[in-house]
């Protein structure tokens, strides 16, 4: 049934007097219903809103002017009380100087708003425990191996380790595993690729999940042969099954096999899982993770556990180290692995955390600059009102009374500022989410939380009180004696308050210098990253995922033939310049940890296994990505069909294996991973290096290309070059795939160049955020310089007039002002430089390709600060030069 607009109805109810309320609401509701019946709901709602809009004025006016209104008397009595009078006087003062009030409130709103927004981010991403009971005890369990550079290669733990941990009952009260994968979900209408996860029951009990419908996985579910079951996410249930409560017990095809739906997982639980540790892409279906009869799970899942109450992560770590000595011999391969316990909260995004702390630091600087501005505005105002205060003191006003008035003024400004700040923080969070885009989903999940609001209010209060103190303290020194006298410059030639003003300006410039420097460094680092050549032509190269698992293509030859057939079908199409396929495409290739042996050479003693990038490619891959061979040739079709043991290396890899250049194409190598040694393979080609994982990837990385026939992939990417519209690419590939297998969907389609850009999303986010802070800081500082110099010029206009009258040239006068400004800017910049130098170590981790003391960034940032400061000084100087001595003396 149609109902009147809620907010309008509530407003009316609040405005109308109680005794009429029932009557008014009922009759309006009745008319609304009649209108819905005759003119439709939309029209009726519009009519209702107009009624309310036009009713509010008369109703409120009436209530305000009623003779009998008791609250009116109460308000009047408050207004006539001392605090009331203070408030009224303060209000009048503030409205009397609207530009002052506006600037202060806006500065306040920006400074505190930005802090609140960033604090919200930090709070929800770093400080807050995971959003479920015992979330602070959830840890991720890994294994790592120290490599030569001292960095750790961290991977999911091996099965025997997990089995041993499950047995040791004194560390964890829950342990679970999960893997994520793309799955084919077939409903009555269609087959689609969806993101899915295989999970052990422990994962769901860790977040105390309750099903929306049906049940969740039980302990038996993971045992092979128990039967195929599936849990749907709430979104999938609503979107694909129309929220049908009868869905439990129905059968769907997942990867071609029949699975019985046992329940629906609430969206809130999924969000909790993803906030903690569950990977970034939303999972639509959950399958049981197959457990291993001797403990642990198969499929090398990620392992998550909840510590027993009272067990710290450090204690767990030492227990696991102890267990490892027992387990190590059971792990296949030759590498030495160590267990690693990480708090799930810490593990979410370690680099993002560091970045957020820097952002929080920067935004605090912005607040300080803003505070300095507010303090200065208040000081300027105080100087302007000194005469008034003296007169009031002379007339017998108490100092407490004057102080009360000032406090009231600050509090009013503060309240307005905090309200604006909260609004500003909301916009800024929306802005941050927009900047972060889809690449940093954590940022999107951040909300303005109660803690952040409390933070804003507290910050506002502290700021207000701090500022009220300055003029109030000054009040103590004020005497009525000077009330009648005009003010003269001090013996040092500077106007009253100049010292305080100057210190504030210097502080502002110093803080702005730090901000601009940090912004400059991050932007240059980002610029360097974006300018990195990925090693192949990414522009115009589209990738479309294709997954054959579960579609009945069991034989490797059959799968390769399918991919080849799709590529062949696309090749002749108009517009397509090149097409190829591979298991992966950068920046999303596989990584393997191991070492490479060269036939005939003994492995060097210090050879350590290290991560290298690996890909399984078809001969057409190199054509599609546009590789120019350094030496040798691509794989041939014959090599694929013969399953020949051949390999292609990157230039760096070849140089590392044969530093003397005596080797390469024609030599034989062997890959050794912790699965054991692979067969010997002949190198048939050397290709240029590419960035395998992200734009800032290690240039020293070994990259290995194997023929698709080595491990015929179940899923891969079709690469298409030359078609301008991504949707069209997908349609073309879909068409070819459907031609061969009508039931097979295609996966995600994307531009390879965008995928590369996404790899630097965090850097982009930080650089953009900090650049905006840098610009704001700089603007505020420039305003500060200009404001103070202008004030100084105004207050010295008489003195300047006298000087000009006595024969000083305008050049002398402008030089004096210029020197005054330049000195403040120079001192501020130097302090800022010193501060940045002290903090530069903290930045080093966030930068790529430049040093934390990068001279170019320093020069550019200093130049911009200096120029901006001098521009502000110059404008003030022109004012000084424009002073007419006759005018200035006449005013005397």
């Amino acid at each position: 049934m149609a109902s009147p607009p809620r907010i309008a109805r509530l407003l009316l109810k609040l405005a109308v007097e109680d005794r009429f309320s029932g009557e008014v609401m009922a009759s309006l509701d009745q008319e609304f219903e009649e209108l819905v019946a005759t003119g439709g709901e939309r029209w009726a709602r519009r009519w209702y809103r107009r009624q309310v809009l036009h009713s509010l004025g008369p109703l409120v006016r009436w209530r305000l002017t009623r003779r009998s209104a008791s609250w009116r008397k109460a308000v009047m009595s408050v207004m006539r009380s001392t605090p009331g009078l203070d408030g009224r006087y303060a209000m009048r003062n503030l409205f009397g100087a609207p530009s002052f009030t506006l600037v202060v409130v806006l500065t306040f709103a920006f400074g505190i708003g930005a802090n609140t927004a960033v604090f919200s981010l930090v709070h929800s991403l770093i400080l807050e425990p995971l959003p479920f009971p015992g979330g602070d005890r959830v840890v991720q369990l890994w294994r790592y191996e120290p490599n030569t550079q001292g960095a750790r290669s961290v991977v999911p733990p091996a099965r025997p380790m997990v089995a041993a941990w499950q047995e040791a009952g004194d560390i964890f009260d829950e342990i679970g595993g999960y893997t994520e994968e793309e799955l084919h979900l077939s409903t009555a209408e269609d087959v689609e690729m969806v993101m899915g996860a295989r999970i052990s029951p422990g994962i769901l009990s860790m977040v105390s999940a309750r099903p929306l419908v049906g049940r969740l996985f039980g302990l038996l579910e993971g045992i092979p042969g128990y039967g195929n079951t599936v849990i749907l996410s709430e979104e999938t249930w609503v979107g694909r099954f129309g929220s049908d409560p009868g869905v439990v017990g129905r059968t769907v095809l997942v990867d071609g096999a029949a699975h019985t739906i046992v329940g629906v997982l609430p969206g809130s639980v999924r969000a909790q899982l993803e906030a903690g540790f569950f990977g970034r892409r939303p999972k639509e279906v959950l399958l049981p993770l197959p457990s291993d009869p001797v403990g642990g799970w198969s499929g090398r899942p990620y392992i998550v556990a909840r510590l027993r109450p009272g067990v710290t992560a450090a204690a767990a770590q030492s227990r696991l180290d102890e267990i490892q000595t027992r387990v190590a011999p059971l792990i296949e391969g030759h590498s030495v692995w160590f267990p690693l316990v990480r708090s799930a909260r810490d593990a979410t995004s370690p680099t993002l955390r560091r970045g957020l702390w820097v952002v929080l630091g920067a935004v605090t600087l912005v607040l300080l600059v803003a505070c300095a501005n507010i303090a200065m505005l208040l000081l300027v105002r105080r100087v302007g009102r000194e005469a008034e205060m003296r007169v009031r003191l002379a007339l017998g006003a108490g100092r407490t009374r004057l102080a009360g008035e000032m406090l009231a003024e600050s509090l009013l400004v503060g309240c307005a500022g905090v309200l604006m700040a909260i609004l500003a923080a909301r916009w800024m969070l929306t802005g941050a989410a927009w900047i972060a885009g889809t690449a940093l989903p954590e940022i999107r999940s951040a909300r303005l939380n109660p803690e952040a609001l409390g933070f804003a209010v507290a910050l506002g209060l502290v700021t207000v009180l701090a500022f009220s103190l300055i003029p109030i303290l000054h009040l103590g020194r004020l005497t009525p004696a000077g009330a009648a006298s005009r003010e003269w410059p001090r013996p040092d030639g500077h106007p009253v308050g100049w010292r305080a003003h100057r210190s504030l300006v210097v502080a502002q410039v110093a803080l702005a210098t730090v901000l601009v420097l940090v912004a400059g460094l991050l932007s240059r680092s980002l610029g360097k990253l974006l300018a990195v050549d990925p090693g192949f032509q990414t522009a115009g190269l589209a990738a479309v995922g294709l997954d054959l698992s579960g579609a009945g293509y069991e034989g490797g030859v059959e799968r390769i033939a399918f991919f080849e057939e799709v590529v062949r079908g696309l090749e002749g199409r108009p517009g397509i310049e090149a097409v190829g396929w591979a298991r992966f495409v950068p920046p999303r290739v596989a990584g393997a940890i191991g070492s490479v042996h060269v036939e005939g050479l003994l492995p060097a003693e210090d050879t350590q296994p290290e991560p290298h990038a690996g890909n399984w490619v078809a001969p057409s891959y190199f054509t599609a990505v546009g590789t120019r061979f350094v030496a040798g040739r691509p794989f041939t079709s014959a090599e694929i069909s013969d399953r020949a043991q051949v390999v292609i290396l990157n230039r760096t890899g070849a140089r590392r294996l044969w530093p003397d250049g005596r080797g390469g194409v024609g030599s034989r190598i062997q890959l050794v991973s912790d699965y054991g040694p692979a067969p010997w393979m002949t190198v048939v080609g050397i290709v240029p290096d590419v960035k395998a994982w992200w734009l800032g990837d290690d240039p020293n990385r070994m990259q290995v290309y194997l023929p698709v026939s080595d491990v015929p992939p179940r899923s891969g990417v079709i690469l298409v070059r030359g078609v301008e519209d991504l949707g069209e690419v997908k349609t073309l590939v879909q068409h070819e795939v459907r031609r061969l297998d009508s039931g097979l969907p295609v996966g995600e389609s994307y531009w390879v160049r965008d995928a590369f850009r996404q790899t630097v999303a965090r850097q982009r986010f930080q650089a953009l955020l900090l650049s905006s802070f840098g610009v704001i800081g700089l603007l505020l500082a420039v305003l500060g310089v200009y404001g103070v110099l202008s004030l100084s010029v105004t207050r010295r206009s008489r003195e300047i007039g006298v000087r000009l009258a006595l024969g000083a040239t305008r050049g002398d006068v402008s030089r004096a002002v210029l020197v005054q400004g330049a000195r403040a800017v120079a001192v501020g910049t130097s302090i800022g430089l010193a501060l940045s130098y002290l903090a530069h170590g903290f930045l080093a981790d966030l930068l790529w390709g430049i040093e934390a003391l990068d001279p170019a960034s320093y020069l550019v940032s200093l130049a911009s600060i200096g120029l901006a400061g001098m521009a502000a000084t110059w404008v003030s100087t022109r004012r000084a030069m424009g002073i007419d001595p006759v005018d200035a003396l006449k005013r005397e």
Binding site: V16, F20, S27, Q30, H54, S55, G57, P58, W62, S68
Partner: protein
């Protein structure tokens, strides 16, 4: 008549509407009457604010009607003019008429 007891234009409209509606005058019917006769869009809030003000000046009085003859029917706050209200309305309209006398508007009316 003491100062402040003259009727404002909208007050006059409301009182005239009450007069013409007779026994059936209540908020919504008054609003509709004004809209229908004067062609002036009127909000329910304005009507009730005016009724409240007139009641304070003792010019109108409220009484509850019998509940509507349907299940769950509610009783309305019916409104009627008091003797003071009637006098004030007569006074105001008489003033208006005498002001109009002799002007071109008088013929049109």
């Amino acid at each position: 008549m003491p100062k402040g007891e003259y009727l404002a234009e909208f007050e006059m409209f409301v009182m005239l509407a009450i007069l013409s509606l007779g026994d059936g005058a209540y908020g919504v019917s008054i609003r509709r009457e004004i809209e229908g006769r004067a062609g002036r869009p009127t909000s329910i809030g304005a009507v009730y604010a005016t009724l409240g003000r007139l009641e304070e000046k003792k010019m109108v009085e409220f009484r509850a009607s019998d509940p509507e003859p349907v299940q769950g029917g509610r009783s309305r706050k019916l409104v009627s003019l008091t003797a003071t209200g009637r006098a004030a309305l007569e006074h105001s309209t008489a003033m208006l008429r005498s002001m109009m006398r002799g002007t071109p508007l008088a013929q049109e009316g």
